[in-house]
């Protein structure tokens, strides 16, 4: 489970995230949507412990990300939007390193299972620097799943993946949540969100503009598909934010 309570993050004078609260439950795929600069990545980085919130609290599997960071991160699997990996390790060496770091029992067998799942087994003994972007993205997925985390956070999952791998990843997210785990993903693809997310949160201008399953959002906005819902919610949020920032008459 992911619990985010009143999360705020300020960079100097810019408030990237303004009091965001939500919960992602076990067995659920939660989609975090928003236009560029909405605060999605900042929220994700605060949840994964890469940055410290200015205000608020985040917990993973019941552990506070700041105060009990090691315990919280034991249950975290993270796929960042840009798959920076150690270029001079082979795929297998990277997975062995991460299994040891996360103290995964039978890490080699699990790594092999996932390598075969993503059709990477033939390339696992080659240096990562020779991999294509898609192969690196797949390897990052394996790295995130190796220790069977209770919480899987995926930032832009489909970047660089071929159609076959994209389909695999969509199904993987659904199946992984069905096992009782929590999956949080951010994406710009409404199609992906509509296909895999049980619930979505639309973030705009650093705050939540709308939240719920597709049906609830349809009722809230009166729009048909997720793309139209997204446009409506983000427009409304922009207008609200603009009116908030207008100077009050004396």
């Amino acid at each position: 489970m992911i619990e985010v309570h009143d999360l705020a993050k300020r960079y100097g004078r810019i408030e990237a995230v303004r009091g965001v609260s939500f919960t992602a439950y076990p067995g659920e795929v939660l989609g975090l949507l928003g236009p560029n600069g909405a605060g999605k990545s900042t929220t994700i980085k605060a949840i994964t412990g890469l940055i410290r919130p200015t205000r608020g609290r985040v917990s993973l599997a019941g552990y506070d990300v700041v105060k009990e960071s090691v315990a919280a991160k034991t249950h975290l699997g993270y796929v960042p939007d840009r798959p920076y990996l150690y270029q001079k390790l082979t795929g297998r060496e990277l997975l062995r390193f991460l299994s040891q770091l996360r103290q995964v029992e039978d890490g080699a067998a699990k790594a092999q299972k996932w390598l075969e799942f993503f059709s990477l087994q033939d390339f696992a003994n080659e240096l990562i620097e020779t991999y294509s972007h898609g192969m690196r993205q797949k390897l990052t997925f394996i790295a995130a799943l190796l220790h069977d985390p209770k919480v899987l956070i995926i930032d832009e999952p489909m970047v660089g993946l071929d159609p076959r791998a994209s389909k695999q990843v969509r199904q993987l997210m659904i199946d992984y949540a069905d096992k009782g785990n929590t999956v949080l993903l951010t994406t710009h693809s409404m199609e992906v969100a509509e296909a895999v997310a049980d619930r979505v949160i639309v973030v705009s201008k650093g705050a939540i503009a709308g939240e719920g399953d597709l049906e609830a959002l349809r009722q809230q906005t009166g729009e048909g598909n997720l793309e139209e819902i997204f446009m409506r919610l983000t427009e409304e949020a922009s207008q609200t934010r603009a009116s908030e920032q207008e100077p009050t008459p004396a």
Partner: protein, 550 residues
């Protein structure tokens, strides 16, 4: 011009984004500039008033030869660094596809890239040469045109190795294995640079001190009449010297002509090579199909008992061995250690008490040496995680675990070096038993402290965006590390001056077997631990607060 203006705007935006770093770099350069300028003026003044050099012509010839020697050394420096720079800027820079997509001829893009290569490789040597030229000019009352001509001569001179290096880098790209050209060029550059350092030291300039006044005069006369031949460095020194009197020598014209011609050819050739697809070595190799499930190597299993720390050490060893930008730093370490041992071994002192004084002072030099090694080995280790740091950061380990695993990783090499050099130096100088006992201990202490300072401050001021390990210490953290390491070496020498003094007073006694000696050893141990642990704690705390992009 438009492309140049665009790049200049980008550079100015960079200054606005991170003014602190630029203030630091410019402040540091200003300090170096001032020191070089002051030393040059003193050297010229001394040379022209030195009684052994009894004619102005001789002094002038010596100064000119010294300038040539400086030009040759800096030209070699440019030549060694330009290989990697040329490959990075000319062929693999990220903006190249964008620039080539603009509606301008490709050769114009490569003019820009050649200029970039030139600035990256030659700007720093030129900046270091400038205070020397200004110092010489002011001291000898040069004509106003001197400053323009001499600067132009130096800029033209450094263009020659840049162009030659550019051609060589192209050759390397033709012959290096696919995807390995950067590694090959880095390795080659560092091997040559380490060779240069060692070669310069092997000349053993201290031999001059053994010459009689007459022999020294003959040496100076020979030195003054030594010609390197009619080559670019002598053209440059002729240009500079003629410009003092306000004249423009033939060498100046040759130099300008040759450098412009070479840079022009380099740009045309680079554009041709890129267009014709000669740059195949930049392409990554195709991964081979090999489904074998390879187990951990035997040596890897040796680190298993260390748990997570062991796995980080194994990973770091692999990255070190496979990345030439990392292992090449070790060559510099070997060159430095070699220079140190050659220097210590060349010292011949008759009296035991003088040898002991020298042995005590040597402990400070050893500390300085280890500080220099640490800045290339320990300090960059945390930053070398690079963009992959997120894997450790989102993993189930604290910042303290990360910092300590890096400390244990760097310590063995540093400890062996510190202890080994301390022991060897004491034997080479042949100090008395009291100092022979403490010399390796002091070396070990300096190694532990410089490792702690390096890892701690490297973690406190990380630079995960650095593209080369040698860039990492160029920061306020690196400067703080050097200052504190040198301060510790001085402090330790002052502490050990007391037992050295006791040895001079009572040569037969072994100080460390006395209660006072044992107390002092305990204090040294405490001091070592304190100065090691405090920066590690600071580094751990600051790393925990680190945020990407901050």
């Amino acid at each position: 011009m438009m492309i140049f203006a665009m790049r200049l705007r980008g550079a100015l935006n960079g200054v606005k984004t991170n003014p602190g770093r630029y203030v630091f770099v410019f402040g540091f350069l200003a300090l170096v500039y001032w020191a070089t300028f002051a030393m040059t003026r003193r050297a010229v003044r001394f040379l022209y008033s030195y009684e052994v050099v009894d004619t102005i012509d001789l002094a002038s010839a010596i100064a000119q030869r010294s300038l040539e020697a400086l030009f040759i050394i800096l030209m070699l420096g440019v030549a060694f660094s330009v290989l990697t720079t040329a490959i990075t800027t000319l062929y693999s820079s990220e903006d190249l596809p964008f620039l080539l997509s603009l509606p301008v001829p490709a050769v114009q893009v490569f003019y820009l890239k050649v200029t970039e290569t030139y600035l990256n490789a030659a700007l720093l040597p030129a900046i270091f040469t400038l205070p020397v030229l200004v110092g010489v000019g002011l001291e000898l009352g040069a004509a106003p045109s001197y400053y323009v001509i001499s600067l132009a001569a130096v800029l033209a001179l450094y263009a020659i190795p840049v162009a030659i290096g550019g051609f060589l880098s192209l050759l390397l790209m033709r012959v290096a294995p696919a995807g390995r050209v950067k590694e090959a060029s880095t390795a080659l550059s560092v091997v040559l640079a380490a060779g240069l350092i060692f070669g310069l030291r092997a000349l053993r300039p201290e031999q001059i001190a053994d010459l009689s006044p007459e022999q020294f005069r003959i040496f100076l006369e020979r030195y003054a009449s030594f010609e390197v031949g009619w080559l670019p460095p002598s053209w440059a020194s002729q240009a500079v010297w003629s410009a003092i009197g306000g004249d423009v020598s033939a060498g100046a014209y040759f130099l300008a002509l040759l450098s412009l011609l070479l840079l022009w050819m380099m740009a045309r050739f680079a554009a041709f090579a890129y267009r014709e697809g000669w740059v195949r070595s930049l392409e990554s190799g195709t991964p081979k199909l090999d489904p074998t499930v390879r187990p951990a190597a035997w040596w890897e299993r040796l680190f298993r008992p260390l748990g997570r720390t062991g796995s980080i050490i194994v990973k770091d060893i692999r990255l070190l061995v496979r990345d030439p930008t990392q292992w090449s730093q070790l060559l510099v370490l070997v060159a430095l250690a070699g220079v140190y041992l050659v220097s210590v071994g060349s010292v011949q002192v008759e009296l035991q008490r003088f040898r002991d004084v020298l042995g005590t002072l040597n402990l400070m030099f050893l500390g300085f040496l280890l500080a220099g090694v640490g800045v290339r080995t320990a300090y960059p280790i945390v930053s070398l995680e690079g963009e992959g740091f997120w894997m450790l950061r989102t993993g189930p380990l604290s910042s303290t675990s990360i910092v300590m695993s890096k400390f244990w990783n760097a310590l063995p090499v540093m400890a062996i070096l510190g202890f080994g050099l301390g022991y060897t130096a004491a034997r080479l100088i042949d100090v008395s038993p009291t100092l022979a006992f403490v010399s390796p201990i002091a070396g070990l202490s300096a190694a532990i402290v410089t490792t702690g300072l390096g890892i701690g401050l490297g973690a406190a001021f990380p630079r995960f965006d650095a593209t080369n390990p040698s860039e990492i210490p160029l920061s306020p953290g690196g400067l703080l590390y050097m200052t504190l390491s040198l301060a510790y070496a001085t402090l330790m020498t002052l502490v050990l001056a007391w037992p050295a003094w006791q040895t001079l007073r009572r040569p037969g006694e072994f100080y460390w077997s006395q209660p006072e000696g044992l107390v002092l050893l305990g204090l040294i141990t405490l001091l070592t631990l304190l100065v090691t642990v405090l920066p590690l704690l600071l580094g751990s705390r600051r790393l925990a607060q680190y945020e990407p992009g901050s």
